[in-house]
């Protein structure tokens, strides 16, 4: 099983990074946390842009840094792609020359991504002869991503690639990131402080706070953990990746089977083939709990669930309840009053009525 092993200790006045992580060697891992939590420093240390005082960095079968054995592979010898917050294109080079900058330095037999593929994947084929200053922010960032891909990296490090863009540009880039995720077999470490980006892109999440790891785990499971600050906010919710089992053309509704469960969610969506997967977010505040299935209602989704636990929310009026829908974890944010009215206890069987489901990808 391929994996990424990181042990980093690095500090400067007022801040100390100290973490020990085993991450999956494929898919997107989000490094999530507030600004100042050490996400970017962590990424820079992995890249070697900053030299951590004590470090062990192993990407699948390559060791890039091992301070015990005085090993420090310089940045330019690490097979990585780095996407900075601002695209940082070379202003003296055309888009094409920017793309070729990395590509030219990769031996022919090492190349796994070619120009045509990268430009088509990021939708920039028509921009090649332009100067960077004549591109929009979103286009620049797409060129930056393609430029990194063309070095055929074994690891893609993305430092809040969308943070410098307005929401329209974010929407413009997001589909490209999702395509990357779907089409390329390169592990990605994605730094973000946006729950929305993390929910859409990440398979695995690392929660950082003040240079330490609060949690590290698969996204669905970790977002539903009651012991983490993630669950307490108004924006709390879980990410579910369901498999399409049916499409009703008349009502334009997809039916998704929940992973490891016989239960289904129905989602208003364009047609998709049976067997494909769709990622949705179910917000904790969009779930209400009921003792009956509530068949005569406009609510589309009503799941049979068991209460697993509860915790206080970020205010006195609400509590968060963790539910198990036959193998899929859900979170419900209900009032304390309702909890007492229902007489909620661990192990109780209930119906979770889901007011809305947000399609993520």
């Amino acid at each position: 099983m391929s994996s990424i092993n990181l042990r980093l200790q690095h500090g400067y006045p007022g801040f100390a990074l100290d973490l020990d992580l085993q991450l999956p060697g494929k898919g997107v891992t989000a490094l999530y946390g507030h600004s100042g939590s050490g996400k970017t420093t962590c990424l820079r240390c992995i890249a070697g842009l900053e030299r951590a005082s004590k470090a062990y960095v192993q990407i699948n079968d390559e060791v890039w840094q091992d301070s015990h054995n005085d090993l420090f592979v310089p940045v330019h010898k690490r097979a990585l792609g780095y996407i900075f917050q601002e695209a940082s294109l070379f202003p003296h080079l055309s888009v094409r020359a920017n793309l070729e900058f990395g590509l030219r330095r990769i031996a022919l037999k090492e190349r796994r991504v070619d120009m045509a593929h990268a430009t088509q994947l990021l939708g920039i084929s028509h921009l090649l002869e332009r100067a960077p200053k004549n591109l929009s922010g979103g286009e620049r960032q797409r060129v930056g991503i393609a430029r990194a891909l063309l070095t055929s990296p074994r690891l893609l490090l993305m430092d809040e690639p969308l943070a410098a863009l307005d929401s329209q540009r974010k929407r413009e880039i997001m589909p490209y990131l999702e395509r990357l995720h779907a089409e390329l077999d390169i592990p990605v470490l994605y730094v973000s402080h946006s729950q929305d980006e993390v929910a859409r892109l990440a398979d695995h999440i690392v929660l950082l706070s003040e240079g330490k790891v609060l949690a590290s785990g698969p996204i669905g499971e970790t977002l539903a953990r009651l012991d983490l600050p993630l669950a307490r906010g108004d924006d709390a919710g879980v990410v579910v990746e369901g498999q399409v089992t049916d499409y009703n053309l008349h009502y334009q509704l997809l039916t998704l089977q929940l992973p490891g469960s016989s239960q289904h969610l129905r989602v208003a969506h364009a047609s998709m083939a049976v067997g494909q997967t769709l990622r949705v977010k179910v917000q904790a505040r969009d779930i209400s709990l009921s003792l009956s299935s509530g068949e005569h209602s406009s609510i589309l989704n009503s799941l049979h669930v068991t209460v697993v636990g509860e915790t206080a929310a970020d205010n006195q009026a609400h509590v968060l309840v963790r539910l198990d829908a036959g193998g899929t974890a859900l979170l419900a944010r209900i009032t304390r009053y309702s909890r007492d009215q229902l007489g909620l206890y661990v192990g109780q069987s209930l119906w979770a009525q889901i007011k809305s489901v947000a399609v993520l990808a």
């Binding site: 890249a47 842009l49 310089p74 940045v75 330019h76 010898k77 990585l80 792609g81 780095y82 900075f84 601002e86 940082s88 294109l89 070379f90 202003p91 003296h92 900058f101 990395g102 330095r105 990769i106 960077p132 200053k133 620049r140 430029r147 990194a148 070095t151």
Partner: protein
């Protein structure tokens, strides 16, 4: 003919001195400027101050110390004698060394400003795109800092042409060896050859104006980082 052959010899010598000095300064000054622009070392301040010293010191002071150092009893003089080269004082080579020190800040500072303006990001980007340091220097730093290099070369050249005090102290006044234009003008004035002095001095004014004109006209074509 308003200029004598001695005047032409002085002009030729001055051009040789300024060209050689500029080339040496670009080679020596670039790593110093790069270091000053990017280091976080505590020696950054002191080194920067030393490089800037010729800006404020009277040229006679620089010349005086160089004279002592390169003379037969100075460290440099003893070393060059040990190598069988004799002493560098009152020689063209000595003048070049003096000029390099004297014009150093005029080359290092524009370069340092250019490198600082580029910032660390392009260098980091280049490294993540597999470029080593030399590669990065030639493909990223050099093109991005080109306006800085042009400014540095023009200022270094022009300032060396305008040198007088240091030359007089360490070079003296030897025709075709150390007698540059500024010294030649001085000689003319001493000899009350005002007409001769006028021609050379006027040529210097025109030259200096043209150099500065070229410099200030090229300023608008600076490239920015996006």
């Amino acid at each position: 003919m308003p200029l004598t052959s001695a005047d032409f010899a002085a002009i030729w010598l001055t051009l040789q001195l300024a060209s050689l000095t500029t080339v040496i300064l670009l080679i020596v000054g670039t790593p110093i400027a790069l270091w000053l622009a990017h280091t976080r070392s505590r020696f950054r301040g002191p080194i920067g101050a030393i490089v800037a010293l010729p800006l404020v010191l009277p040229p006679t002071v620089i010349g005086f110390y160089l004279l002592l150092a390169m003379g037969p009893h100075g460290y440099v003089g003893q070393f060059t004698q040990f190598l069988g080269l004799g002493t560098l004082t009152f020689s063209f080579a000595g003048l070049v060394i003096g000029s390099v020190i004297y014009s150093m800040p005029f080359v290092v500072q524009p370069l340092q400003n250019a490198f600082t303006a580029i910032g660390p990001r392009p260098l980091e980007v280049a490294a993540t795109l597999r470029a080593n340091r030399w590669d990065t220097f030639f493909t990223v730093i050099l093109p991005l800092a080109r306006p800085g290099f042009i400014t540095a070369a023009i200022l270094g050249f022009a300032h060396t042409v305008g040198e007088f005090g240091v030359v007089l102290m360490i070079g003296g006044n030897i025709p075709e060896k150390t007698r540059v234009v500024s010294v030649q003008i001085y000689d003319h004035v001493e000899a009350l050859e005002y007409a001769q002095a006028h021609w050379l001095a006027g040529a210097m004014v025109v030259f200096s104006f043209l150099v500065l004109l070229a410099l200030y006209s090229s300023r608008k074509s600076q490239t920015g980082w996006s």
